[in-house]
Amino acid sequence: MIALLARRFAGLILTLVIVSLLIFTVMDLLPGDPASIMLGTSASPETLAALRHELGLDQPLVLRYGQWLAGLLSGNLGNSLTYGVPVAGLIVERLAVTLPLALMAIVLSVSIALPLGVLAASRRGGVFAIIATLFSQISIAVPVFWVALLLIILFSTRLGLMPAGGFPGWNEGFLSALQALVMPAIALAMPQAGVLTRVARSAVLETMHEDFARTAVAKGLSSGAVLRRHIVPNALIPILTMIGLQFTFLVAGAVLVENVFNLPGLGRLALQALSQRDAIVMQDVVLFFAGLVIVMNFIVDLSYLVIDPRMRKAV
């Protein structure tokens, strides 16, 4: 177990280093220079040189990478080139929006998809199966931003029930902050719920044909009990894997939704950093995403051990 964890950890560090090197090089290869973006169209070459020096952009790539790495090791993520504030603070501020948003979307999509998928599988050909198929096809096909716009037009512009976008901040009151996240979470959850419904349905279907399920039926258990005690727990593994994958996808993929609802989340921070060529912010954010993917995979692996006794023995 400890060996496994150590291997995992070493892999994690190695992946992060490779990712950071890649992003550093790519940002450097992209045309565009943060200093000339900041100074605009009127600046003279001397002014540009002065700013490049001030930002440390006149130093060679290797040196800048080394400085950044050294900073990371001492817990300093560096300063944003454009905002001029520590990146760590920026990321924490943005996470306070993106994490709750992703969590809400996950909870929403799971609470729609699980019952729908299980019901669709256990009552094949019934009305739930039709609803599940329709729902998953529509929700996957419809673009996220379109759902977002529909929600805004209906609930904000027409009915005036919801704010049309923006984020008041958590210290402006829990309720209004939560309220600002409801519609974005629905928009974000839709395609996820569609995918998850399909996964849940096929996982349950597959498990139904396993020997142990047939044995349970043969033993005379009611179909509800078979479903609850044998089929659903076994079907959970592919479903959990999917949820784990989706979570990282939601955190990183919220860019569109954050843009339409004007939420100051991580996705928008990354987009803005890219257009301003703010390499430091870009590196830190991408590194954070990479770390998140690795940690989530790790958690999914661990959760197998909790769900499935056979895996516990194997380890």
């Binding site: 565009g32 220079d33 829990f174 309720l175 209004s176 004007n262 989340g265 301003q276």
Partner: protein
């Protein structure tokens, strides 16, 4: 999460009940008393500033938040584009145009209590013109040779050459007065002398300013207690925020095609004003075939400007014939010099040696007006046998690199935002690669006099040269599309300088 505010839950409940009332078909016309006595303002902007100090970075969004609200200058520029005294109450210019003596106001304090005096003014100007300065308009201060402060309320500038635009330039956001102790941190926590104090910046979402109770100018004190600038990039989201009442005003609404969607709104009004934003298709004048004036003229005559405006900006905009707007002093309508005339354009092309046209590429930034204008122009150029390929070019990063720095382009299209920047055609280097000694001489002549009438005469001549020479295709001036609450008064309808001046803004009872 730290404290639960009942105000916001009350707002939620009031929204719920409002929604219920509306859906029940009830008429809700009366406003609550709380709203009548409003002293706060939620104002929307498309672009978030990347720092709040206009003296160290160029983006206009910085000045649109802080200029005249947090920061002030020795002089200011009013709604009509004229220079007015501000922290300097008066000034004298010596007969040779080389010595400027400013009398400063006394008793003015920065928001942190530091005094504004001649020493602070000298500090601000020295910081802007110094060797390590990263001021985006450092050239404004290039002719200042030395600065003297004989006493606390007198500031004397000695120039190395007459600079007729200096007073005007001192009214710009890049020339604001910053304080010796706080200047270093102005990027994140701006401290000025203005009617509003910086309160907070929630990056990615909003900047909040509050009323400065100790403002020196009692006549121009802020009438609002609190102003929230909110940054909303998506035009649909902008419209929704206005209609739902989340925003009170959007002084520069980004989508002309959505302007008519406000027609039925009883709470909101729309105002179409002027800006300084000149949409021009700049050409690389050093490159074939654009080095031939006849080719440039032919391209200009192939364009029907009104059709471009209709296609790109929903018909909202003013055609121009040179790099000058109707707001600017000494404006002359030049659209008649090279009017839309396909036959004449073809003849000019043939004369220049391109009877069968030619093919070139336009580097078009992603801002909505650029690809839309380019598509209309593409169709018009096809009429005279010229093929234009459109290459989307990311703005600002790739555009600045390719066009501004490397000058690796045939044609590009961009809205020039700086007021009175006709002198860019005399700058070397500048991306047009345009060389015309006669024009350069005029730009020098403008600086040799501080007399507005004499300057206007020179500016008229300069417009004539550009209209005839067309180093860039002059298309249109963007309108300032304002949408705001009917009860909100005092916002600027025109924009002689990119700004949101809020000291005179108030809610009508």
């Amino acid at each position: 999460m730290n404290k639960v505010s009942f105000a916001s839950s009350a707002r939620f409940i009031s929204r719920l009940s409002l929604g219920a009332a509306l859906s029940a078909g009830l008429m809700m016309t009366a406003m609550t008393p709380a709203e009548a006595a409003k002293t706060t303002l939620n104002l929307g902007m498309s672009v978030e500033p990347t720092g709040l100090d206009p003296t160290i970075a160029a983006p206009v969004a910085i000045g649109q938040v802080t200029w005249q609200n947090v920061f002030e200058g020795l002089v200011t520029i009013d709604q009509t584009g004229k220079v007015q005294p501000q922290l300097a109450k008066s000034w004298e210019i010596s007969a040779d145009g080389l010595t400027y003596t400013f009398k400063l106001r006394t008793g003015v304090k920065f928001h942190d209590g530091e005094a504004f005096d001649a020493a602070a003014a000298k500090f601000a100007l020295d910081r802007a013109r110094g060797a390590n300065s990263v001021n985006p308009q450092k050239r404004f201060f290039a002719s200042i040779a030395s600065i003297e402060t004989p006493d606390a309320e007198t500031l004397v500038l000695h120039l190395s050459a007459p600079t007729g635009s200096l007073i005007y330039w001192l009214g710009w956001p890049a020339s604001i007065m910053v304080a010796p102790k706080s200047a270093e941190n102005d990027k994140v926590t701006p401290i000025g002398t203005g009617p509003f104090k910086f309160a907070s910046w929630m990056k990615g979402d909003r900047v909040e300013l509050v009323r400065n109770g100790d403002y020196w100018n009692k006549e121009a004190s802020a009438k609002l207690d609190k102003v929230t600038f909110r940054f909303i990039a998506d035009p649909q989201a902008q419209a929704a925020a206005l209609k739902s009442g989340d925003l009170d005003a959007f002084p520069e609404f980004a989508a002309p095609e959505l302007m008519s969607s406000f027609d039925g709104e009883t709470r909101l009004i729309t105002k179409v004003g002027n800006t300084e934003l000149k949409v021009v298709a700049g050409m690389n004048n050093a490159k074939k075939p654009f080095d031939d004036k006849r080719v440039r003229q032919a391209l200009m005559m192939a364009i029907d400007r009104q059709t471009v405006i209709d296609g790109a900006w929903s018909g909202l905009g003013t055609p121009i014939g040179s790099h000058y707007t109707p707001n600017d002093p000494g404006y002359k309508d030049m659209t008649g010099v090279l009017p839309y005339d396909v036959e004449k354009a073809k003849a000019l092309l043939a004369e220049a040696g391109y009877p069968n046209g030619f093919t070139f590429t336009i580097k078009s930034p992603q801002m909505a007006y650029a690809p839309r204008s380019a598509q209309v122009m593409q169709a018009m150029f096809a009429e005279i046998g010229v093929t234009m390929n459109i290459e989307p070019t990311e703005f600002p990063a790739k555009w600045v690199q390719d066009v501004m720095k490397d000058r690796n382009f045939d044609m590009t299209i961009v809205a020039h935002a700086e007021p009175l920047d006709i002198d860019i055609y005399a700058r070397d280097p500048y991306y047009f690669n345009y060389r015309n000694p006669a024009f350069d001489a005029l730009m020098k002549k403008v600086q040799e006099t501080a007399d507005p009438a004499a300057q206007n005469a020179v500016y008229r001549e300069a417009q004539e040269i550009l209209a005839e020479d067309v180093p860039a295709l002059y298309l249109f001036v963007m309108p300032k599309l304002g949408v705001w609450d009917r009860k909100l008064k005092g916002l600027w309808e025109n924009e002689p300088i990119p700004s949101n001046v809020l000291s005179g803004v108030y809610w009508e009872e």
